[in-house]
Symmetry: C2
Subunit: 439 residues, 2 copies
């Protein structure tokens, strides 16, 4: 956004050949020919949105790297059991883990989901070149939903991580502010998030009412909405189940289907009462966004799970599975109402989910440093005194402060010339001697 | 936070009389005498936190004023039913109302709760001057919890309102960025929010286990935890009930009590398994914060309701009651899991809550402008081209842009001298004539 610029065009003729007409065309006689598919003009936007999904993981990872490294170095309060012992590393406080680890998990969730979507994009490009437009609408819906959801989660995580640094979170030297300012517009550009969620919702509404479902490919990310396999009540589950990727994913699938079916049922009933489609759509817009979010979260988890299944190294696969479960429990706890509302999960199961989430925080703790180091960001990129690889937080802060031009001399320029005379005049006026005498 | 400054003290002697010893004292012989109450040193902090509660309402109101005025002026898309008619004011989209109106309500909730807490503060000052320290701990807990909750809600609302402006939300001319930068540290200063929530939780744990409840004044904000009046299941309710302040407040009271009792029961059971108090505290820290938030939200609503009851003008009282209900429904929908978990509310009731919330958005719509104008912020304070009182958004943007020194001349300084020669050189190198010929 540039505030101070503006451009006005008055009686300007733009040549036909300057119209960026790759798919739609206007010929010399002024005849318009449509592109081969309605949504083909979205091609570049779909590509950029695909890059944003993984990008959200990367931007979030910058800040999570800084916050986790700092939380390992920073200590606060000795334990009661040993008041003269070393103070506790703040990363060992469960509240700090609960702030950072779900978003540490989110960096991997979004990174891998981004790779999966990029594969879908290239697969679709191949199809288009063969004249097959069948995947366009679905790809548009997937990227629109995931672009919104991942930018939302990443900005939320960046701000939570920033706050986890305490007062240092205001410091330019933290390196966090630049990331935040760089990435925060991602929620608005390339399609504003609410508008994109509504496009996802429109696609779902079309599927649910238009009986387009018959033409869905079995591989479609929407086919679960029409499958017979959805059980209305989850099986008796133990705390072990909340570590099972398949079980967790099926919960999010059921929840998305439940919310979509509820909203679409209300849609029908409002239309039957005599309102137009457009009126109904606006009446329910808030719920349409909610339903698109639920679907997109399910897709995000499903894509991450596909990626995990492709990992051959058992140890790494296990770590990724723990991140999946922790992130899923975190999101399930937050939206517990949707899982409880139709009785799919019981209150005892929500408590299991909560406890599993907390236990996974403890389990991830020894891996936290490895998991951020694996992103392998060089120090010059993080540009952070708090999050440098060497962990010398306070030495770095001191070094960086000394580099300031203001610190080249012991007393900054202008103090003797301007400030001291002013202060002296002030002291004389207030009778500073008098104040001292009173003490 | 100043990045480039540092101060080192080496062998500096500080005189005894410079120790700011109002309550605690050290005499000439080095004897220390304790203050009359443990928490009396928090007096100023308690005062500042009290001002923050209402302040959160004011800062949020700056941005909500800008966003609501802009959303009334800004139009986007003609209705399908009349494609050549005027475009729709964006405030008439339900998604925009759902972003802004709950936070419009929050400005009043926090403003009035702030006034109530300020009364408590002054009442307590009087007591202290009479040697009565009985309210210190409770006031500390109330202000700590509300400081955290209100700064959290206000920052959340400011960012949502900023995003509701679309691309204009990045503009310095929006006036929003300055408010955000000014207020965002409020979550960290005067007691970091998580730490403060834990202090509230500690107070509650002491009450629940220490049987301190017997000494609670009947007016105490904690006495509901020990009352016999809490019904485990809410009565059959109709959609009308979700407009009833008393009913809504009792839901939040029950919910807070349910969460507190659950967490404290788990606290007992972990301690019985052999862990120390400190270990248990850290194991449950995330839930202790959750419990403190639930209590603080109940207190916030209770204080707002007390303020509403003091309003004699029936019309204003009705408007404030609508804001109360809308805000309560919004928060209840968000945390629906807590209300469903113990069966206090049924899924049908959560749906009623959701629908009542949406209906209240429509009901508030005609009052939205009056409700922001009532804050009566002068234009120079908002400093916003988008949110000025006259509503001339685009004219203001144009005027403000023209004021930029860069726009004093048609072509900015340096273009002819530096840029044009560079561009000419570039064109020659790339053979721009060749590119043109190809088109």
């Amino acid at each position: 956004m540039v505030d101070n610029g503006f451009l006005r065009l008055h009686e300007v003729r733009i040549p036909r050949t300057n119209m960026l007409m790759r798919f739609a065309q206007v010929d010399r006689d002024g005849n318009f020919s449509k592109p081969p598919h309605d949504k083909i003009g979205y091609g570049t936007m779909v590509y950029v949105r695909s890059t944003i999904i993984g990008g959200a993981g990367k931007y979030l990872a910058y800040v999570i790297t800084i916050a986790i490294r700092y939380s390992i170095v920073r200590r606060q309060f000795p334990p009661n059991s040993n008041p003269k012992g070393a103070e506790v590393q703040i990363i060992d406080y469960l509240t700090q883990q609960h702030k950072l680890f779900p978003y540490l998990a989110a960096t991997y969730v979004m990174h891998f989901a981004g790779l999966q979507v990029m594969r879908m994009y290239h697969d679709n490009l191949k199809r288009i070149s063969q004249g097959d437009m069948s995947q366009m609408a679905e790809l548009h819906a997937v990227t629109a939903g995931l672009k919104s959801l991942t930018t939302e989660i990443s900005i939320e995580g960046i701000e939570i991580a920033r706050k986890s640094l305490g007062g240092h979170g205001f410091s330019k030297f933290s390196g966090v502010i630049d990331v935040l300012v760089d990435w925060i517009p991602s929620q608005t550009y390339e399609g504003e998030n609410t508008v994109l969620y509504l496009q996802v919702a429109s696609h779902i509404v079309k599927l649910m009412f238009g009986r387009k479902s018959q033409s869905l490919a079995p591989s479609s990310g929407f086919s679960y909405l029409f499958s017979q396999n959805d059980s209305k009540i989850s099986p008796e589950s133990t705390s072990k189940d909340f570590n099972q990727l398949g079980f967790l994913l099926s919960c999010f699938q059921h929840r998305s289907r439940f919310v979509i079916e509820s909203v679409c049922a209300e849609f029908s009933s409002i239309m039957k009462s005599g309102k137009t489609f457009e009126e109904t759509y606006n009446d329910l817009a808030v719920d349409l966004v909610r339903m698109a979010k639920c679907h997109s979260l399910y897709v995000l988890l499903a894509e991450f799970m596909k990626a995990i299944e492709q990992i051959s190294d058992q140890q790494i696969r296990g770590m990724m599975a723990d991140l999946f479960s922790m992130f899923a429990c975190f999101m399930m706890e937050r939206d517990a109402g949707d899982f409880l509302e139709d009785g799919f999960l019981s209150s005892a199961q929500i408590q299991l989910c909560r406890r599993t989430g907390r236990r996974l925080l403890r389990k991830i703790r020894p891996q936290a440093l490895v998991l951020v180091d694996a992103w392998d960001f060089p120090d010059y990129l993080l540009n952070s005194a708090l999050g440098a690889h060497d962990g010398h937080v306070y030495e770095n802060l001191y070094k960086w402060a000394k580099k300031s031009p203001l610190n080249e001399s012991d007393v900054a320029d202008g103090v003797k010339q301007y400030l001291l005379p002013l202060m002296k005049k002030g002291q004389e006026k207030c009778g500073i001697q008098g104040i001292r005498a009173r003490l």
